[in-house]
Amino acid sequence: MAEKVLMKGNEAIGEAAIQAGCKYFFGYPITPQNEIPAYMAKKLPKVGGCFVQAESEIAAINMVYGAAGAGARVMTSSSSPGISLKQEGISYIAGAELPCLVVNIVRGGPGLGGIQPAQSDYFQATRGGGHGDYRMVVLAPSTVQEAVDLVMDGFDIADMYRNPVLLLGDGMLGQMMEPVEFKERKPRQLPEKTWAATGWKGDRPRSVINSLFIDPAELERHNIKLQAKYDTIEKEEVRYEAYNTEGAQVIIASYGTTSRIVKNVIDDAAREGIKIGLIRPITLWPFPKEIFAKVVGQQTVKAVLAVEMSLGQMVDDVRLAVNGQKPVYFYGRTGGMVPRPDDILRQVKMILGGEA
């Protein structure tokens, strides 16, 4: 077993990437993720890699496109406004089917907003803030350890499917320290990157990294191919945690750091004889629909409550998953405010009391 170390979320993300074999990082400063580029600037040269501070988030994501197309494991990170700027680039990466890891340590918005933790980029993350029919795999860790594990898995998923993967954290996750362990992982069987542009010696077809299909029939074929890939991902890569769900009266849907607060609420509620269950999506896309359908079907369950640090974004996916079986409620804080356990519990009681 590897040694446990106490690390900041942001730094742990950087270290996990390096241990996953990521040698290239292109980024631009923005709070609250600045420790990621700083860590990479310090460490990458020592592993024969390269850190480049790009002139902007747009340049950074396009450098990622170049490095990914050249066959490298590569990463960028930013926070909300910076991620908005990357949307065109992300759409290109998805369109050209390149693997990479994008990290969004979310802060309050819209606009310049604030710098405190938020989850208000859920729509952007899961629906593609960019143009066209594409999807990113969205991983939402709730602890620093999980962030480390998901960074490593994320690179594998990206390479497996030739698709960008987004790690969605928030300022709290990025700034906090927790013990982490960098575990030995058994490597996933990954396809070779025969498609990469590495210089053409005639021993394989010429590599052309591209997302232009001027003939609409061709573009549709490409889109359908992408869709088939997304279907496979929806089948193979769904992850979630179902906690205390059996016989629960209310199911709370919550992800990331917010779900940790919900766990406190579950304990508090238990003391008062209220049974709350938690479904914590770990992949926000693909969304764990089936477990909702299943858990919510229980007789005991009166309602579902989505708790988010936003004004209601994941709640759409929860409603889609629940599909009218049970009422779905929402409670959220936003702008950098973090839900308090007692307020969440009050919501649950209101729901059970028929007041919500």
């Binding site: 290239y24 170049g66 050249a70």
Partner: protein, 249 residues
């Protein structure tokens, strides 16, 4: 009998889609000739722009990437950092490089990125049907300067080569033209030199090539070459603007 002129190996067999007489085709060939002469086809990775040259990935017979509009220098940076031993070039139009991609080219130069840029300045947006570019001449009528480019509203054309010459990381900068045989031979020399600078690891190199757009200028190909010579060259003086390897003006 020996071939004194044939299609360079660094071009594929795909016929160009360019309009009749468009000098993009000449510039493609010059780049390919330079690649052939330096014998670097197997280690060259090119980056195509968004613009009329978007399909350059079909023409250059080496590994290619197609970049988002204006971002070719960033894409090339990503490639070069992963493969420092390869030769990486971008091929970009004036809308692509001088307008939306102004920050990317300035910073590729600033970082002294060891890439080569072929900058095709035709004073217009060709691909999208002839809108004003930052390089459009004063008075030039385009789809978005229907009364001619008016400095009061749209300012003066930007001289990219001169601007980039102020940047330390830029190792070689030249402006050339392809409007006649003499000039296109000079253009080829400059392109080859730019690649050599990259291979030697000296820094960023760029060749600005004045080019025609008969279609959107509303001229015949021959008239277009003359228009280039008579109107563009006076505003965009030719020559080596910077050469840290010796030479220059």
């Amino acid at each position: 009998m020996v071939k004194v002129f044939e299609k360079p190996k660094a071009l594929t067999d795909k016929p160009f889609h360019y309009c009749p007489g468009c000098t993009h085709g000449i510039i493609h060939r010059l780049v390919a000739e330079a690649i052939d002469e330096l014998d670097i086809q197997q280690k060259t990775i090119g980056v195509a722009p968004v613009g009329c040259a978007v399909f350059a990935y079909d023409y250059f017979n080496c590994d290619m990437m197609e970049a988002a509009h204006g971002r070719a220098p960033a894409v090339a940076t990503g490639i070069k950092r992963v493969h420092p031993d390869k030769v990486v070039f971008t091929y970009q139009g004036d809308g692509d490089l001088a307008s939306i991609g102004a920050a990317e080219i300035v910073h590729a130069a600033t970082r002294g990125e060891k890439i080569t840029t072929i900058f095709v300045n035709n004073a217009i947006y060709g691909m999208t049907g002839g809108q004003m570019a930052p390089t459009t001449l004063v008075g030039q009528v385009t789809a978005t300067s229907p009364y001619g480019r008016q400095p009061e509203i749209a300012g003066y054309p930007i001289r990219i080569s001169e601007m980039l010459s102020t940047i330390e990381g830029a190792a070689y900068i030249a402006r050339v033209s392809v409007h006649d045989i003499k000039h296109l031979m000079q253009a080829k020399k400059a392109i080859k030199k730019a690649f050599e600078i990259q291979i030697k690891g000296k820094g960023f190199s760029i060749v600005e090539v004045l080019s025609t757009c008969p279609t959107n200028w509303g001229l015949t190909p021959i008239e277009a070459l003359n228009w280039l010579k008579e109107n563009m060259i006076p505003y965009y003086p030719l020559g080596v603007k910077k050469d840290i390897d010796g030479g220059g003006e």
